[in-house]
């Protein structure tokens, strides 16, 4: 009883501050989108932008395209991720496994355009492989090319989910089936895959959401295949028609939010499979040769494609005009670094590094609020912060643009405070704090409250207990959140694509400019620099804090 009284003031203050912050940086921008969608310039209720998207045949086709793309990317990405997880755990071991694991994670750190760019270089109409090597006439512009790039980009998410699941499967179940005389194919079908089912749904829904939110790839190789995210972008860029843009954005928000929260409910709270502590024999090779070889063919083939795509980005950066004039040169780097590139590098790294700890701590505080306090309606905090991850980046970016473009909250644009830096930091934090939240919630659930109770019983106040007991135990989770945030901030495009500032240059925005102008060489140079910064940062942080940073990047 005494404890409860002592806890409440701190919790109440934390809850109030958190509510104010979340309202300002998340609810207000998203509400601005909704408001713009249902209130006309004259201030009367008028939802015509949304109605138009749903009734106009052209927009309806765009909506249909978006859903088809999301569903197919979800199926393809999930299948490939599953194949990789089965291959790394059941078909190879030793260094081969490590290599395969590494290749499967590589696309996670790709800047948004890098893979689409090299797809055009390699498999474009004048592509090195398709046209110049095989003499084929294939056009990647459209749904096919889009799905190719999205599958490669998003399958690692599914891989990480399945990898965790497959590793936690108790081999005893499979062994029992084997002992009972079932064939290995039958075991896979009737034992292994059913055990992976929660992962299937989860991976599909996450990739579906990511695919819907993808902006860069539809812009580069979408061709005529228009989707909602790029329609939002083009409505602002070409016409600055905010009413038109919010129409697309609201229609995009709906399936994204539904799929995202369906996935949360489906998978349940953060404990997909709990560690049982029972000894696991970890026997590998429970797979028939008839299955092993196709599996290896798919995964090794994909691995080769991933490496080729990355290699092409680097090659494109170091050649004059890849495929046209393959002279090795540093001109692209010179162009980038002597131009706005150096500034973009330092600006982006600085803002990302500033936002990362803020995102980490935001996640931590909200997690604490949700798991450890008795504040009424605490679950709402969780759901609201998760909106930052669930809402497509372009819808969020549009919200930030609408919300922070007018006095007194003029945080965006040339005349804004700090030259518009605030809005970028808000964008980064909103987008990545949810991941820190999930990590911290999971960590908190694993810490026995008895530890904290003991501290409290010995007379420590809640803040002291939090600082001396809880925080040290959660160091890992917070750090993971910070590292993830930094990586994501560096490579995100859709959230910041609509926010321009003459004072702060964001690398992904600059890459978009280069690719818009079809200066593919400097786009590749920018991407190479960006990949290098991210890799160096991950390695450095890993050295500093000593745990596998890249694992958390999902």
């Amino acid at each position: 009883m005494i404890r409860a009284v002592r806890r409440e003031p701190a919790a109440a203050i934390l809850a109030t501050v958190a509510a104010a912050v979340l309202a300002l940086i998340l609810v207000y921008p998203l509400a601005s989108v909704l408001r713009e969608a249902v209130v006309s310039e004259k201030g009367v209720l008028d939802a015509s932008p949304v109605v138009r998207v749903l009734t106009n045949p052209v927009s309806r086709q765009i909506l249909l395209n978006t859903l088809v793309m999301g569903a197919l990317a979800g199926v393809l990405g999930t299948s490939l991720g599953l194949a990789f997880a089965l291959a790394t755990t059941r078909a190879v071991r030793g260094p081969a496994r490590t290599a395969m694991h590494f290749v499967a994670l590589l696309p996670l750190i790709a800047p948004p355009f890098a893979l689409a760019l090299s797809t055009i270089f390699l498999f474009g109409r004048n592509g090195l492989v398709t046209r110049q090597l095989l003499g084929l006439e294939i056009s990647p512009y459209g749904l096919g090319g889009l799905l190719f790039v999205q599958t490669i980009t998003f399958f690692p998410v599914a891989y990480l989910i399945f990898d965790a699941l497959v590793r936690q499967l108790d081999p005893a179940l499979e062994e029992a089936a084997l002992d009972l005389g079932a064939s290995r194919g039958r075991i896979l079908r009737t034992v292994t895959l059913p055990l992976l089912r929660p992962g299937l749904a989860g991976a599909f829904l996450i990739i579906f959401v990511e695919s819907l939110a993808d902006l860069a790839n539809p812009l580069i190789i979408g061709g005529d295949f228009n989707v909602l995210a790029s329609s939002v972008y083009l409505a602002i860029i070409g016409e600055f028609d905010t009413r038109k843009a919010v129409g697309f954005a609201v229609v995009l928000l709906l399936p994204s939010l539904v799929a995202f929260f369906a996935q949360r409910i489906w998978v349940g709270e953060d404990s997909v499979v709990t560690v049982t502590g029972k000894p696991s024999t970890g026997r590998v090779g429970l797979i028939e040769p008839a299955l092993r070889w196709p599996l290896l063919a798919i995964t090794v083939g994909t691995g080769v494609v991933v490496l080729a795509l990355y290699g092409t980005v680097v090659a494109g950066a170091f050649t004059k005009l890849l495929g046209i004039d393959n002279t090795v040169t540093l001109d692209n780097f010179r162009f980038v670094l002597q131009g706005i590139g150096t500034k973009a590098m330092t600006d982006t790294t600085l803002l990302s590094a500033l936002a990362a700890p803020i995102a980490g701590v935001t996640g931590l505080l909200v997690a604490y609020l949700v798991v450890r306090t008795q504040i009424r309606g605490r679950a709402i905090y969780d759901y609201v912060l998760m909106l930052g991850a669930a809402a497509p980046g372009i819808a969020l970016g549009l919200g930030l643009l609408l919300a922070f473009n007018h006095p007194p909250l003029r945080w965006s644009g040339a005349t804004a405070a700090f030259g518009g830096a605030l809005v970028f930091i808000v964008a980064f934090v909103v987008r990545t704090a949810p991941v820190s939240l999930r990590g911290c919630v999971a960590a908190l659930l694993q810490i026995d409250p008895a530890l904290e109770h003991a501290s409290a019983n010995l007379g420590a106040s809640t803040p002291t207990t939090f600082r001396r007991i809880t925080l040290p135990l959660m160091r890992r989770a917070v750090l993971s959140g910070v590292i993830f945030s930094f990586t994501r901030n560096m490579t995100t495009l859709s959230t910041i694509a609509l926010l321009v500032s003459p004072s702060w240059r964001i690398m992904t925005g600059q890459i978009l400019n280069e690719i818009d102008a079809q200066r593919l060489g400097s786009g590749a140079a920018y991407s190479t620099i960006l990949i290098a910064i991210v890799v160096v940062a991950i390695v450095a942080l890993q050295r500093l804090f000593g745990h596998t940073a890249i694992e958390v990047a999902a």
Binding site: P9, A10, I13, L14, V17, A18, V21, I120, R125, N126, S139, Y141, L219, G222, G223, D224, L234, I236, I237, G238, E239, F240, D241, T242, K320, G323, I324, F335, G339, I340, K343, D347, L354, P357, I358, V361, N405, P407, G413, A414, T415, A417, F418, G419, A421, L422, I425, S461, T462, T464, R467, V500, S501, P502, S503, D516, A517, Q518, R519, L520
Partner: protein, 361 residues
């Protein structure tokens, strides 16, 4: 309660961290702000920092703002937006403008902006030296460069595909070139709007006939780009055979190494742009803006282009013309009515967005 504040402190610290640490604000090079100003006779500096909305190639804007900063000691930053994008942005910011000068992009866009009340007339020093056809009589906009619309042909791709080299606008709608044309979208790109307006002028401003052509043309377009100059490089890369783009951008692409490219001027006559420059109404810093505009039409500023692969023709008759520039009198041009093109820009672009671009192919 005292301890309770520590959590609050963490939370506020987190929030203020973003403010405090980024307070240095625009870290633009200010070292150049030293001497220059008096030596070259630049005008007053105003607040000493200027934000430009630029429309030409980024390399060019960057070079020009840097040169201006060095010479006149005014910190100058820019945002690059395509013509339609820039117009949209100015309109959206009308209540509290962020930019002081809009520099570059076809005059049609400036006329449309003026019709929306977004510009403030200003006649920069030396205004009368600019030929009358290259400036607005009242100084609403002043021409800074001129360039003809051209067609970039990738001779290698055409040969590989056994396609004849097109030589007219009429050729470009032949079914043989299906999926082989790249052009920007006229909503975002001034280049592309120049093309669209050119088709209107070829049909004596008969919008119906013009659109009939555009609908046929659309059938051959691979994908609409955002930026006007992009199609030159896309054709250079061999992704398409044909790019419709300003001829100076084709020159730049060839210069960059796309050696299979060739410039074609359609036999019916082609359109051209006068790259404009204007003071934004309600500019945050009109004084520095005027200093910039005065400087921008000096011989020195006008001769900067080729350094940054911008091969437009200068409007200042005293400025030296690069031999790589396409002289306008060597090209058959249409009777391009900028006022008409500017006045009808919104209607035509809207119609294009609604009737042409979404057509199935």
């Amino acid at each position: 309660m005292r301890r309770a504040t520590s959590i609050l402190a963490i939370a506020t610290l987190v929030l203020s961290a973003c403010g405090g640490a980024s307070a240095p604000g625009p870290p633009t090079a200010s070292a150049a702000a030293g001497g220059g100003a008096t030596a070259t006779g630049c005008g007053p500096k105003g607040s000493g920092s200027l934000v430009i909305l630029g429309t030409p190639q980024e390399e060019y804007i960057q070079g020009v703002t840097k040169a201006f900063q060095t010479e006149c000691g005014i910190n100058t930053t820019y945002v690059r937006l395509s013509s339609g994008e820039a117009l949209a942005k100015l309109k959206a910011d009308k209540a509290s403008p962020q930019f002081s000068v809009w520099w570059g992009g076809p005059a049609d866009g400036f006329i449309a902006a003026n019709n929306d009340g977004l510009l403030e007339p200003y006649q920069p020093k030396g205004f009368e030296r600019i030929p009358t056809q290259y400036r607005d009589a009242k100084g609403v906009w002043t021409g800074i460069y001129v360039g003809a619309l051209g067609v970039a042909l990738n001779t290698k791709v055409l040969k590989d595909k056994n396609l004849p080299e097109p030589s007219s606008w009429a050729d470009l709608v032949k079914p043989a070139y299906k999926g082989q044309i790249s052009i920007a979208h006229p909503a975002s790109s001034g280049t592309s709007y120049t093309f669209v307006a050119t088709q209107m002028f070829l049909n004596n401003k008969d919008i119906e006939k013009g659109f009939a052509y555009l609908k046929q043309f659309h059938q051959n377009v691979l994908q609409y780009q955002k930026t006007g100059a992009a199609p030159a490089r896309q054709a250079g890369q061999g992704e398409v055979a044909i790019g419709v783009v300003f001829s100076h951008d084709i020159v730049a692409a060839i210069e960059e190494g796309f050696k299979d490219l060739k410039i074609m001027f359609p036999s019916e006559g082609t359109g051209y742009e006068i790259g404009g420059m204007a003071l934004v109404k309600g500019a945050p810093d009109p004084v520095a803006a005027k200093t910039f505009m005065d400087w921008a039409i000096t011989v020195k500023a006008q001769e900067l282009g080729p350094q940054f692969k911008a091969y437009q023709l200068p409007t200042n008759p005293d400025a030296k013309v690069s031999d790589k520039s396409v002289k306008l009198d060597k090209v058959k041009t249409v009777n391009y009515d900028f006022q008409w093109a500017g006045d009808n820009k919104k209607a035509i672009v809207d119609r294009f967005s609604n009737e042409v671009a979404p057509q199935p192919r």
